[in-house]
Amino acid sequence: MFSISTQAKYWLFTGETELATCRAEANRSYISSRRAHLTDNEVASCFLTPMEEKLLSRQYEVVLRKFCSEFQPPMPKCVIGTSLAYFKRFYVHNSNMDYHPKDIMLTCVYLACKVEEFYVPIGQFVKNLRGDREKFADAILSFELTLMSKLNYHLTVHNPFRPMEGFIIDIKTRYKDIQNIEIVRRTAEEFMERSLQSDACLIFSPAQIALAALSFGATKEGLSLDRYIKEILFKTATEKEAEDTLYQLRRVKFIVKNTESVPREQAQAIQKKLDQCRNQENNPDSDVYKQRMLEKLDEEEDVRHRKRAKLVADDEPMFFSLEQDR
């Protein structure tokens, strides 16, 4: 149930302004930990600005959707929705410079596959990628736990796809004025696709997105759902609830309509800049990262060794006394 989910509780923001402040905060905290004693001008030329980060995220969301749509075996829509939700949630409180979106993107899809019960083994998963597949697999698996902890283990995502089906069933049953609601489906789905590119899933409930998509589709097809919404759906609602919901629906449409794609050249320029300022500790190709992984491994081994030594030492006194009895 969405109303009592972690999504409603922790991952709904009031609007794009709040999201922007969160992202700016993530950006600022990363820069302040790295800048040493650079001047503001140098910082601006060296690190990504919040705006650039947002553009880069958008660009990678496009890449993610392309990857998903070409994925073999073909994946259900909810996997795409969930992986995009993970991706967006991750970069609300983390900077693109700290974790490269390229790695996080793949990890999001892999995790979403698992959560949405469309499990694809890692070997088969990386077959959808070009390049050094083993390296990709390693990167995905090593970021998986990080991703989950950054998402606070809130892994259930409510996507707007099922609510839309629900509304269609409801309209067919209770609103006889429209007999051919199915013709709305195509435009509504297009709207939903576009909504995935926006921050809508961080601001609105899936039901609101679905209803907005349907009402948008209906208007495009020359139908109107206004009477259905006002007279049937809101029959039991208070005036304020109805008003606020209508306002939310208008906001969904506004935000979704205003999403625009990022020009390729701009994205490439940002990416170049990112290569210089990204956190090398989270770069699977860097020496720092490899070194750290090695240390971690050693540490684990060490701990295990110490534990065993302790166990042996604890056992001994008993063993001795047994021997002496003979």
């Binding site: 009592i4 923001f13 099922r162 629900g166 039901a207 606020d244 919901t245 030492a313 002496q324 009895d325």
Partner: protein, 330 residues
């Protein structure tokens, strides 16, 4: 796995199930008959390694791996000298180090590593700790003390039990004699008919016997006599409150979705595809999917993040985001 057998006469457990393997300090096993043959004089050389052995030190091989036996022997010998207790050390760490040292010595001797150096070490240790070794030899370790007290306690209890039994027997005998005398007295001096007296007497005897039995059963539980405090009261029942079912109330945050019954009466099910046989076999029904879709559609429809209690991360209030509103086109 290799068949266990005597290395000298090549008899195996398979061919002779009653084969008994013996082992001596060197860790090489021999079967019983070979030992008898080779050590007629009471001592001789091990056929494997040439160590001189005494017949009396041969014992039954318990572990399949003879080297384990050898290790046990060496350990026994080493521990005779290295007999410090935990109390002899100021800290656990030092005691552990000491134990570690013993392990190293045992390992070295068993596996023939630095034998000379190790032996030297042992000798040095012996010299340094001569007094303490002697002192500790007479002392029992804590575990042994504990065992001893346990055994003592048990013995004490068995003697008590025996005494109680004896006394009871005596009492019984006395009672029997008494009742017999009473019967004869009654027969002699009472005026009632004889068979009447006998039958009433029998009844009485039976009654007594029953009582006695009851008394003995009360004692024949496994609980130690005189240890009342050990008995855990079994009838300590906690009276938990009975579970009361209260139906689940869900906060929909939206219009109330139809109930499953309404799906049927209001004709919702006409508007979804019919279920396939395979799905029905799996236990699904149309109503299930339909109900879920409708629930998902209605749940959270009236969700306005600014209205619900804001988390620390959500400091922004709604009016600021409403700055968009003039631009909104419906």
């Amino acid at each position: 796995m290799e068949e266990q057998g005597c290395p000298r006469c090549k008899t195996t457990k398979y061919r002779n199930p009653s084969l008994k393997l013996l082992v001596n300090v060197c860790g090489h096993s021999l079967c019983e008959s070979c030992v008898e043959l080779l050590f007629v004089k009471g001592s001789g050389l091990c056929p494997e390694c040439g160590t001189s052995l005494r017949r009396s030190t041969f014992r039954l091989q318990i572990f399949e791996d003879a080297s384990v036996e050898k290790e046990i022997d060496i350990r026994k010998r080493v521990l005779r000298d290295f007999n410090k207790k935990e109390e002899d050390f100021p800290s656990l760490q030092e005691y552990n180090d000491y134990l570690e040292m013993i392990e190293t010595i045992v390992f070295n001797l068993t596996n023939h590593q630095d034998v000379e150096a190790t032996k030297k070490m042992i000798d040095q240790y012996k010299k340094e700790n001569k007094d303490q070794i002697k002192k500790n030899l007479s002392k029992l370790s804590k575990d042994e003390e504990f065992l001893e007290t346990l055994i003592e306690q048990e013995q004490h209890e068995t003697t008590i039990r025996k005494m109680i039994l004896l006394e009871e027997e005596k009492k019984e005998k006395a009672a029997k004699r008494k009742s017999k005398e009473a019967l004869i007295d009654a027969l002699m001096y009472q005026d009632r008919p004889a068979h009447d007296i006998i039958s009433s007497h029998k009844e009485l005897a039976q009654h007594e016997e029953l009582e006695a039995k009851r008394a003995t059963t009360a004692f024949s539980t496994g609980i130690k006599i005189g240890h009342r405090s050990d008995i855990v009261p079994l009838n300590k029942q906690e009276t938990a409150q009975l579970y009361r079912y209260c139906p689940l109330v869900i906060e929909w945050c939206g219009p109330e979705p139809p109930t499953v019954d309404e799906l049927y009466t209001d004709g919702y099910l006409r508007n979804i595809r019919t279920i396939s046989d395979a799905e029905r076999a799996g236990g699904f029904r149309e109503a299930l999917a339909c109900h879920r879709a409708l629930q998902d559609a209605f749940s959270g429809l009236y969700s306005f993040p600014n209205v619900s209690a804001p988390s620390p991360a959500k400091r922004k209030s709604f009016p600021q985001t409403a700055a968009h509103s003039p631009m909104i086109t419906s």
